[in-house]
């Protein structure tokens, strides 16, 4: 079916088609519209979901964990301060291997108060053992949510998945997009299988007990392995979903990379603007390519290295900062993935608090890269783009 959906509408629709057992949420801009729509689906009897209107995000995520451990398929949605308030229990969800699906409408963190897009919220949760997928547009946001169910629930993975989309830029923008039929979604995600649910009184289990130096490290190591196994699962689920829809899904999405000498790495909605900039600069004779990072956790280090080695210069765009660190979080990862390669990797931090990112600014980045490629000299490794 073809729709004109905002990001919020697409999220609500995907959730309706998934028909999760439990949804626990708390309102926060720019996610509220999705939750209001979903509440309507519940009231209209379009879904069988048990909807919990929690008293905070900390409680919302805790409700999700409880429901997941009890043996249900569980979803939620949040943004910004909401995700930050969940921080403690994000780790708990992942460590208890709860395959919860959470849509995050990326938004800046306080203070000062800002409701617009940047990636500080998601990046703040990057070490929590949640899989992180980022969408470029509303279509992808929808597609990612459906795929997330399969990824999270895969027996080799059993980790929660955070599907990210840029607040307002996508959450409130209406786009033409295609949805699957309800039965197709149900067939694709198939029935939820609870593993060791709390509900099973005949086989009682304990979750989250005291676990000291004798076992804790091994439990963490198992999470590491689950993340490693997730690579393969994400790829396979993407291929299967791609066959069904004719759209392709991978860890990385290259554009004009075949003969590229310099490259831009970006995630989220800015990928679209960057693609236009790349096309324009190609016409000016610069051999530039683009790598869209669709999956940030697990970080696709090998593919990225394969794709970027041999470049003369790479610009990494970060929509959040890691104060006091050497560049933004995406930069740090890309740079360390390329360790030992003879390529200059530089960082551009942009768009904090929803500051617009324009085509001409990305073109400037590409011009800079072309200069680095020619001269072999980097003027500044970390540049703040569009700040006064």
């Amino acid at each position: 079916m073809i729709h004109a959906f905002s990001g919020n509408a697409a999220v609500a629709y995907a959730m309706k088609q998934i028909n999760p057992d439990v949804v626990a949420v708390y309102p926060i801009t720019p996610q509220t519209v999705a939750m209001e729509r979903f509440a309507d689906f519940v009231a209209d009897g379009d879904v069988d979901t048990e909807l919990i209107m929690a008293d905070s995000e900390h409680s919302a995520m805790s409700c999700c964990i409880g429901a997941s451990l009890a043996g249900g398929r569980v979803m939620t949605s949040t943004a910004s301060a909401g995700l930050a308030l969940m921080w403690e229990v994000l780790f708990v969800a992942a460590s208890n291997r709860c395959p919860i699906i959470m849509n995050v409408m990326n938004r800046a963190l306080s203070a000062p108060i800002n409701i617009h897009c940047d990636h500080s919220d998601a990046m703040g949760a990057r070490d929590s053992s949640w899989i992180q997928i980022h969408a470029e547009n509303v279509q992808e946001a929808y597609d990612n949510i459906i795929q997330a169910v399969r990824i999270a629930e895969h027996e080799n993975v059993r980790l929660p998945v955070m599907t990210n989309m840029d607040g307002f830029t996508l959450s409130h923008a209406t786009e033409r997009m295609e949805t699957l039929e309800d039965q197709q979604v149900q067939k694709f995600i198939s029935e939820f299988k609870a593993i060791y649910p709390l509900l099973d009184v005949d086989n009682p289990v304990t979750y989250g007990p005291l676990d000291l130096y004798d076992y804790y490290f091994e439990h963490k190591r198992q999470q590491v392995e689950a993340m490693e196994l997730a690579y393969d699962v994400i790829k396979k689920v993407g291929q299967e979903y791609g066959k069904m829809t004719g759209r392709s899904f991978d860890m990385l999405h290259p554009f004009e990379m075949e003969d590229a000498e310099v490259a831009v790495v970006v995630l989220g909605s800015t990928s679209g603007t960057a693609r236009v900039a790349v096309r324009a600069m190609r016409q000016k004779g610069i051999k530039v390519g683009l790598v869209k990072l669709r999956v940030f956790r697990p970080f696709p280090k090998d593919e990225l290295r394969e794709m970027l080695k041999g470049m003369k210069a790479v610009a990494v765009m970060d929509r959040s900062d890691s104060f006091g660190a050497f560049g933004g979080p995406v930069f740090s990862e890309v740079r360390s993935a390329l360790l030992g390669e003879d390529v200059e990797v530089v960082n551009y931090i942009y768009g904090l608090g929803g500051r617009d990112i324009r085509q001409d600014q990305i073109e400037q980045v590409i011009t800079d890269m072309s200069t680095v490629a020619k001269t072999g000299k980097v003027k500044s490794f970390v540049t703040y783009l569009g700040v006064r």
Partner: protein
């Protein structure tokens, strides 16, 4: 010839809030602040968690208030106010610390820090302006939303099916020195109570019904009228709990049926006669209970 009676204004003329704020027409929350600052005067600092007032106070680099303001995280008003007061005390500075939160920030996400501060009897005034939903994010239900009301997360087919949390009783259970209900439709009463509270030390709590035409689907010009109807119908009684003594500030001469209050607000439009009857019974019971409490004298 009878002597001309001079009108005496009980509401101070000084203004501490600038005009031109971006609240909706007929916003009770904005008016409530204007009144509160008139009552508390210039030596007041304001702590505001996320709520409509985050917007009304104005974006950087503007401010709607002449007082110092700290915009804090949604769940933290009472904790931050405790800290601000402690900070003032070590500097031996006297000022009223005013925590100013919505119902969501008070009844729901902020209730833990508020309860803890009240138990410690922290020295601040906490005003909850209650518009009975999360208005800033677009009218989602809170635990202050009354039974039967429409919100965007309690659609008409499935309106709120639980009663409003009784926050005054929760605060009274902490045995704080002073708690009062008020409405923006009764400015003199609100100002009088605030002036009284200013002279008391310890945790002082205000529960203020603040009209929200946007969320209540009520005509903006009825900003004063709607909360007056809430009091006249006993849906929202005006009372104080002063050191454990309950006293009702306004007893309606003739208690109006709840329909008078409900019918001016679109958020109750879908209610059936039976549902309205249910609300009436609940209101009657709660009112009777309050009358009894008032008779009992000191309760703590």
């Amino acid at each position: 010839m009878s002597e001309k009676k001079k009108m005496r204004a009980t509401i101070p003329e000084e203004e501490y809030m600038f005009p031109g704020t971006v609240d909706c027409q007929g916003c009770g929350a904005a008016y409530a602040m204007r009144l509160a600052l008139k009552a508390l005067g210039p030596k007041t600092m304001v702590v505001i968690p996320a709520c409509c007032w985050s917007i009304i106070a104005g974006p950087f680099p503007t401010s709607a208030l002449k007082m110092p303001i700290y915009h804090t995280a949604f769940e933290t008003a009472a904790a931050v106010a405790s800290g601000v007061k402690a900070g003032l005390s070590i500097r031996e500075k006297e000022a009223t610390v005013l925590a100013w939160a919505g119902d969501g920030g008070t009844f729901d996400i902020g209730v833990q820090s508020l309860s803890a501060a009240a138990e410690r009897n922290e020295d601040f005034i906490y005003v909850c302006y209650d518009n009975e939903a999360y208005m800033n994010t677009g009218i989602q239900r809170s635990s202050a939303t009354p039974w039967g009301a429409w919100t965007t997360t309690t659609p008409r087919k499935h309106p709120k099916d639980r009663p409003k949390k009784n926050m005054m009783e929760i605060m009274a259970a902490h045995r704080i020195p002073y708690a009062a209900s008020a409405t923006v439709g009764h400015p003199e009463d609100f100002v009088r109570k605030l002036k009284k509270a200013r002279e008391i030390r310890g945790t002082r709590f205000f529960h203020v019904l603040a009209t929200c035409p946007t969320g209540w689907r009520s005509p903006p010009e009825l900003m004063l009228e709607v909360p007056r109807l809430a009091v006249e119908t006993c849906v929202f009684p005006l009372y104080e709990i002063d050191n454990g003594v309950y006293s009702i500030s306004k007893k309606p001469k003739e208690k109006l049926p709840v329909t008078e209050y409900l019918k001016v607000q679109g958020r109750f439009r879908h209610l059936t006669d039976q549902q309205i009857q249910y609300i009436q019974e609940h209101v009657d019971e709660t009112w009777e209970l309050l009358l009894k409490k008032e008779k009992l004298g000191r309760l703590f």
